[in-house]
Symmetry: C2
Subunit: 289 residues, 2 copies
DNA sequence: CGCGAATTTGATCGGTTTCAAGGACCGTGG
DNA sequence: CCACGGTCCTTGAAACCGATCAAATTCGCG
């Protein structure tokens, strides 16, 4: 249901002829007509990015305009599409317009570790693009609409708009902060705590991009993906979810629909402290300056 | 012994009257005379930073000069000093001139997770400073010499020197890449693999700032700290180290001195692929442009 | 309705933790 | 130079959390 709301929120994006990403090639294909369409019609396609960046720093109207005018094209993907592979040479950033994605790594024994979960407004892969070679993969969890933005255009823009560069830098720093929390999460917390922590993080990130009461939401992940994110197995995740439900911390209407029964208790069980998300950065900044 | 070499390399730094950091307050104390001394005499104190930043991007002579002229003062610390606590309001960055530091988090049950290990030339806490509130702590592993640089000065400099800003941004992105590798390391690898991976990473980072054969080095960490970095217990780290030695992957002359017996085997055992360190970024950049 | 994917359950196994105690090392002071 | 004390390393045995394996059940969807 939340997904539906988002689609409505994004209805400025023309999707008359959504372009499916080919699973085999991993690169988008696009007719000249479609390319032209996405460049001109979808002039406000990038608005989800603003909602996110405004959390970090104040942007002037001119700066926001410049961000919206970044060249891009919009792509529709199936679920479970791998957009970027570890080792790829990357020259574009991805912006999520709708849907959910993860970043991940594959380790030697074939195990997979999800590094972060992303949603509408998140600018993905700017890290990979600036570093030049991808050190991790990117995969969609659900059907997504993504905007593909050339790094060169971002460079050109940030070179003349220092405040935008600072904002994007800040955005990547928050990513780093979340990584650090995840290191602690998978390194030093029990299975139950890890899962509870993830549920809290997801609720708060949802709330940030889509204000409203996010105590009930659809978790766009299978238990196996949840396991990959928490460093557990899917079997154990299943048992942990049951335990959380038994304690009344969550209720599970369907398998993926999470209803947080008691936020305070869940946050305590998840050893969750929102400060690492830095969601109050703009508020704090405004208050002190 | 490596530490000795480094001290010699840093002998431009005047340390006549090292200023001990007070354990209780966590803030440096400094006589006016000493402050003046560190500002003027140690004009090349910041050179270790250049060696690191040159790995990421080319810097012009003027830019390097500007970086060296950043206002700062030099501080000597004991081992196990906590320089920054989670939650601190941060207005300075720390540059390591000699010695080793870690970044860490404390989780709910009192457990500690080390997030990254740092050495000469590493610019610490720029993340915390830009984000405003520290989301993690910083502690010295050994006696260190640190330069404390006001964030305001870095801001002023990077606003007029975009290439320096890009370089520092790149530096924080590499930090993020290392964080991602650590998430995968503690999340999805066995104890033995985790420890082997850490030993490989440390050798390579040493090599980067202090070229020479780093197959033998002093690991500036106790087994308990190794455990905090790998998400294990010190008892288990002890057993893992013995196992690695039994397999001939490492030799242990003293408890902390690591001699890598077979780099290839250790890298394989540690599922280690250096690409996430992005140490070849400058090389690659030079080759393609 | 029927198929494949995802969830759930049970039983067993094993890597890692925990607890506890002994021993080695190192810096310090006498 | 040695004695001392504290930190760190090492070892053993037992307990436990989470993994593994396998099978049954439910869910989602065309």
């Amino acid at each position: 249901m939340i997904l539906e709301l988002w689609c409505r929120a994004n209805n400025a994006v023309k999707r008359g002829d959504p372009l499916a990403l080919r699973r085999s090639s991993g690169r988008e294909t696009m007719t000249p007509a479609a390319r032209g369409a996405s460049m001109t019609i979808a002039s406000h396609a990038l608005t989800p990015m603003l909602r996110k960046l405004r959390l970090w720093r104040h942007l002037t109207a001119r700066e926001e305009e410049a961000l919206l005018n970044l060249p891009h094209h919009v792509i529709s993907t199936d679920r479970l599409q791998t957009l970027v592979n570890d080792g790829d040479v990357v020259s574009h950033a991805w912006l999520i317009l709708s849907g959910f994605c993860v970043r991940f790594k594959i380790v030697g024994d074939g195990g997979r570790q999800i590094l972060s979960i992303h949603m509408m407004g998140d600018l993905l892969d700017l890290q990979n693009a600036i570093l030049g070679v991808a050190d991790h993969g990117i995969q969609t969890l659900t059907k997504c609409e993504m905007a593909r933005i050339p790094l060169a255009a971002i460079k050109t823009l940030t070179d003349v708009e220092p405040n935008i560069k600072d904002t994007l830098w800040f955005d990547t720093l928050v990513d780093g902060s979340i990584h650090r929390e995840w290191v602690a999460n998978v390194g030093r917390r029990s299975g139950k705590t890890r899962v509870a922590h993830l549920l809290c993080e997801f609720a708060l990130k949802l709330e940030a991009v889509h204000p409203g009461d996010q105590l009930k939401y659809e978790l766009p992940m299978t238990q196996e993906q949840l396991a990959d994110a928490t460093g557990l197995t899917s079997v154990h995740v299943n048992r942990v979810l049951q335990a959380l439900a038994a304690d009344g911390l969550i209720q599970r209407v369907t398998s993926k629909s999470i209803l947080i029964g008691d936020w305070k208790k869940l946050a305590t069980a998840g050893d969750f402290n929102r400060s690492y998300l830095h969601l109050d950065a703009a508020v704090r900044r405004a208050g002190t300056s």
